[in-house]
């Protein structure tokens, strides 16, 4: 058993939040050890967790701060792109990855400058806000989540990882270690986001990757954020587009089909009706741009 050195176990930070213990591990192993034994919440960039603590929505006994762990902050390029969980948004926003251009675009649209400097991809993904940016991108791209615990490692497909609003497939003691995304060479990719105000969560967002061959759609991935309990993969719209040319009519039909299976909430960002309208227009505009470019 690894001993937790007590000099790094600061009990009781006092903030407006409730009392909470704070532990800053020196390695992932140490973090996993602690998580195995204590009722704790993993803290990375803190851009969602800290506000939740301040609002007293969450009251964990401990915070385990993995934000400073260098071993979890990396971007490794191969056929598959591997991204460490504590990689900051700004690092992804400032790196163009061939075959994964969409990630740079999505990262540059997360929150505002302050959030992007501090927030991490893993934190955003594990928080699973139904209006967050990455979940739609990772779902569209069939990413894989590598999850670690003291017991070992397991892999989960993005589609299965996002279970619902603020709910992911992570068990107590587990930490998201890495995100793996297959490179999509030859795909046109875009992430578009509709917000009421700069820096806000998406009212609706669209991740789109499309492979054209002589104007015919060979493959297409469409996923929305902000319009359902979690990321919404628009399979019906994909079906309409596959093996078709991007004609006005096809685009229109795909846009209409994109809302199939979506169940947008009505809240202060917009009504369910409005979100459905925005979805259709998002896809239509994005496809029109791609049709014009090709």
């Amino acid at each position: 058993m690894v001993r937790i050195p007590f000099k790094r176990l600061f009990l009781i930070i006092k903030m407006y939040p409730p009392q909470v213990g704070y532990f800053r591990p020196e390695s992932l192993g140490e973090a996993l050890e602690f998580l195995e034994r204590e009722e704790a919440k993993v803290l990375a960039g803190g851009q969602s967790l800290i506000p939740m603590l301040k609002l007293r929505v969450l009251r964990p006994k401990y915070l385990v701060d993995i934000g400073g762990l260098k071993e979890l902050s990396y971007i490794k390029e191969g056929d598959t792109i591997s991204i460490g969980a504590t990689t900051r948004h700004f690092e992804l926003a400032s790196r163009r990855i061939r075959g994964l251009e969409i990630l740079q675009e999505a990262a540059s649209k997360v929150g505002d400058v302050q959030v992007r400097n501090v927030g991490t991809i893993g934190g955003s993904v594990c928080n699973a806000d139904p209006a967050a940016d990455y979940p739609a991108v990772l779902t569209a791209l069939d990413a894989t989540m590598k999850v670690r615990s003291k017991k070992g490692t397991r892999e989960v497909k993005a589609h299965d990882f996002f279970k619902g609003p603020f709910s992911v497939d992570l068990n107590p003691g587990e930490v998201l270690e890495e995100i793996r995304i297959p490179r999509l060479e030859g795909y046109r990719q875009t992430y578009r986001k509709v917000v009421r105000r700069a820096g806000d969560f998406a009212l609706a967002g669209l991740a789109l990757a499309i492979k054209l061959d002589s104007g015919v759609v060979k493959d297409v991935r469409i996923a929305f954020t902000g319009v359902s309990q979690g990321p919404h993969r628009a399979k019906e719209a994909e079906k309409v587009l596959r093996d078709s040319k991007l004609t006005k009519d096809v685009i229109k039909r795909a846009s209409e089909a994109s809302t199939s299976g979506a169940n947008p909430p009505s809240d202060s960002r917009g009504s369910s009706w409005y979100r459905l309208e925005v979805m259709k227009r998002l896809l239509q505009t994005s496809l029109e741009v791609m049709a014009n470019e090709s």
Binding site: K14, Y16, S268, G270, Y274, L282
Partner: protein, 746 residues
């Protein structure tokens, strides 16, 4: 040497830009911290407050409820009687909740603890047994008087008064056209960057209060009335205040609880609102006008007949009484319409109490009358400018007494309209937008006119002191809290005394240092506090001439003052400013200070503003540009005046397109800063601001009128009009949210 008219840099900004300012929360004082337990119910009977667990917690000193607090809080919070006649009002007694809560968020108990974290933890440990009773959370329901907010009043109507001028029924009948209208502003939340805060210290005989407020002297008077302590034994200090917008000119029960706790415990007590608490401390706007207008073929508006409903929330705040009494008076605006009936109604609901907000009644009135002008234009297919030209009060009618008796002092409304159309390039921008729309873009240009009533008397205090070493301290009853008015007043005084501005220090906001005052609100401070400061400075200069005359053994008439020198006109002898200052404190003279309480009246600035709005395919509107042309009287500091246009214009963007304080069906405020959209720099338009060179002076010594609220008064009407131009839709309620825009786009 002349400072007035120049963009002198703000005198005291270093501390703000270097983080050394002192807001209430920055004050270091050995105080207990207050935290509040709040009701989740809009209306409920308080059966029992369980304090036991909280009292056992470490650091917790005590817990008070209304039962204890209201022994000290003797009188209730009442209306601002300087401006609101309480007689026609039905006013519930408003102290700390006792026995019953009337809105969700109302404080039910206060915890006093040794630090704010313990205080908050303890507040969470308190449970309250409620018995919910029927609540009425919308004006429409409240109007039925089925469920009453205050049983003892017998009605939810707090105020009913019909403002009638001429014969609107007859005018409607003889008009060429009649049209039904419904126009309004929904509820919003003022957002000062610094939330409310208070520190109270009662030592057994004197009460000191450090308070984030716009009105320290009125607060002193109110605390005196409420707690039964003579004003002379109360000191209210306003440290640096991070924004007010009218939302820091009322008193809330939390603040009374802090003072009462200090009085009961004999210890200093403090509280700073969290953002969530700040959002519940002040809600604003929410008014609807429904009625009918009559107009003729030539575009003249001849009759307005309708009902104005203003929401009050659960209690009558210090400032909300202004709205239903001043909106009707200002509905005629700068136009000649003389036959009106405005049935003004103010209605209690089980919601967060409502207060004034930048512009206070003039934005509401301006939105109504400008929407009416645009409605006439649309109905007759006339241009917005033409319709206004045909309705504006003409120069030969000035000073003009409006149908409700307001006397518009000076101005040439028609000339300003015509100049403004040129300077703002209205016609060419309209044409540009039309061409852009032909290309498929949704852009639009809109304008609106406003006439503002500001100044608001009744008086202001100022004292000018010349110190022994020749420095000048100007103490004003005005209370700048971000506007930079202190710089403008230093400019005026430096000019009056012909001394370098570096010699002049302006102080305010401490009721012990400044014996009397009214405050900063209603775009009044340069005019009324500035004029008082100039008057006091003149009197001091007169004293100095007398001192110089005695020293030079001359008659005071023989002494001329110029540029820091007192000259014996006949003999040519001179005395320097510093010499006279020193002599003023030689023991032979009574010192060099003079104070005045200067009377003042209302004055009426006016202007035309224009916006360019672009709407995307999702119905999201952005204000790209905002242009303003105003006659605000003499301009003392153009940069400060422009700053007011920028700030007010940005808040106008918020009111027109973004800011909606959603109250859910349970009466709870359903937004946080995650979805209550205060515009950021990204949503702010590019500004162009011009002031009329041939201005029309106010009767004030400074010849100034006021600019603090102009852009928020007219901005919402301007932006909505541009939005209509961009989309072809019609919008009569603020904020216009994207899905409403999208529906009209289809």
């Amino acid at each position: 040497m002349s400072y007035s008219g120049k963009s002198v840099k703000r005198l005291y900004d270093d501390k703000f830009v270097t983080g050394r300012s002192t807001y209430v929360d920055d004050l270091k004082i050995n105080a207990l911290y207050a935290a509040f337990v709040r009701s989740n119910y809009a209306h409920a009977v308080i059966k029992r407050v369980h304090k036991e667990d909280a009292l056992k917690m470490s650091g917790v000193v005590t817990v008070y409820t209304g039962e204890e607090l209201n022994r000290v809080i003797k009188e209730g919070i009442g209306p601002w009687t300087t401006y609101i006649d309480p007689r026609p009002w039905k006013i519930p007694k408003w102290r700390f909740a006792q026995g019953e809560v009337k809105y969700a968020g109302e404080p039910v108990a206060v915890v006093l603890a040794t630090d704010k974290y313990r205080a908050r933890d303890a507040a969470e440990a308190i449970t309250v047994d409620y018995e919910p009773v029927d609540a009425v959370v919308s004006m429409e329901e409240a109007k039925k008087d089925k469920v009453l907010v205050h049983k003892e009043l017998g009605t939810n109507y707090g105020y009913k008064n019909d403002f009638v001028a001429g014969n609107p029924e007859k005018a409607l009948e003889s008009a060429d056209h009649r049209k039904k209208v419904e126009i309004g502003n929904r509820r919003l939340i003022p957002s000062p960057m610094e939330p409310r805060g208070i520190v109270a210290s009662y030592d057994g005989s004197n009460l000191s209060v450090w308070y984030s407020t716009q009105i320290p002297h009125f607060a002193r008077a109110e605390f005196s009335r409420i707690f039964g302590i003579p004003q002379s034994r109360i000191r209210v200090v306003m440290p640096d205040v991070g924004g007010g917008f009218g939302s820091k000119a009322h008193i809330i029960p939390e603040e009374l609880a802090v003072i009462a706790s200090s009085m009961m415990l004999g210890k200093p007590v403090r509280w700073t609102a969290t953002r969530t608490e700040e959002m519940m401390a002040t809600n604003s706007r929410h008014n609807v006008f429904r009625g009918e207008i009559g107009f003729n073929n030539d575009g003249t508006l001849v009759a307005i007949n309708g009902t104005l409903e203003v929401e009050l929330g659960a209690y009558l705040t210090y400032t909300e009484g202004i709205q239903p009494t001043i909106i009707p008076l200002m509905i005629p605006g700068p136009y000649r319409v003389r036959d009106l009936k405005i049935e003004s109604r103010a209605i209690y609901t089980n919601t967060i109490p409502i207060t004034m907000y930048r512009g206070a009644s003039r934005p509401e009135a301006t939105f109504i009358i400008e929407r009416l002008m645009s409605t006439v234009a649309d109905e007759l297919k006339l241009d917005d400018v033409t319709v206004r030209e045909r309705n504006l009060v003409r120069e030969d009618q000035m000073p003009y007494t409006n149908p409700f008796g307001l006397k518009y002092d000076t101005g040439d409304y028609l000339t300003l309209l015509r100049e403004g159309v040129k300077i703002l390039e209205y016609n060419s921008m309209k044409e540009w937008a039309r061409k852009e729309r032909e290309k498929g873009k949704r852009v639009g240009v809109g304008l609106a006119y406003y006439l503002e009533i500001c100044g608001f008397g009744p008086w202001e205090y100022a004292e000018t002191r010349v110190t022994e070493d020749g420095g000048v301290i100007v103490a004003i009853g005005g209370t700048p809290h971000g506007q930079g008015t202190e710089t403008a007043i230093a400019q005026l005084v430096a000019d009056e005394l012909q001394v370098p501005i570096e010699r002049v220090k302006v102080i305010w906001g401490d009721s012990d240092a400044i014996p009397a005052g009214t405050g900063t609100y209603g775009s009044r401070t340069v005019s009324i506090a500035g004029s008082a400061a100039v008057t006091a400075s003149r009197q001091v200069l007169e004293k100095m001439r007398r001192v110089a005359a005695r020293a030079m053994k001359a008659d005071v008439e023989e002494i001329e003052y110029k540029n820091g020198e007192f000259v014996h006109k006949r003999e040519g002898k001179k005395m320097r400013w510093e010499e006279v200052s020193r002599l003023g404190y030689s023991g032979k003279e009574p010192g060099l200070s003079a104070s005045v309480t200067l009377e003042g009246d209302v004055t009426f600035p006016y202007g035309i503003h224009m916006a360019i709005v672009e709407v995307d395919e999702y119905g999201m509107a952005r204000v790209k540009e905002y242009r303003a042309y105003d006659d605000i009287g003499r301009v003392i500091n153009p940069a400060l005046a422009e700053g007011q246009i920028h700030g007010g214009g940005t808040q106008a963007v918020g009111q027109a397109l973004y800011e909606l304080a959603v109250i859910n069906e349970n009466g709870q405020l359903a937004v946080t800063y995650a979805d209550y959209y205060v515009p950021t720099a990204v949503e702010s338009p590019k500004f162009k601001s011009y002031f009329a060179e041939k201005y029309h002076p106010s009767p004030y010594l400074t010849k100034t009128k006021g600019v603090g609220e102009a852009a928020l008064i007219v901005g919402p009407a301007v932006i909505v009009r541009a939005l209509e131009d961009a989309t072809g839709g019609k919008f009569d309620f603020t904020p216009v949210i994207p899905e409403e825009i999208l529906k009209k786009m289809k």
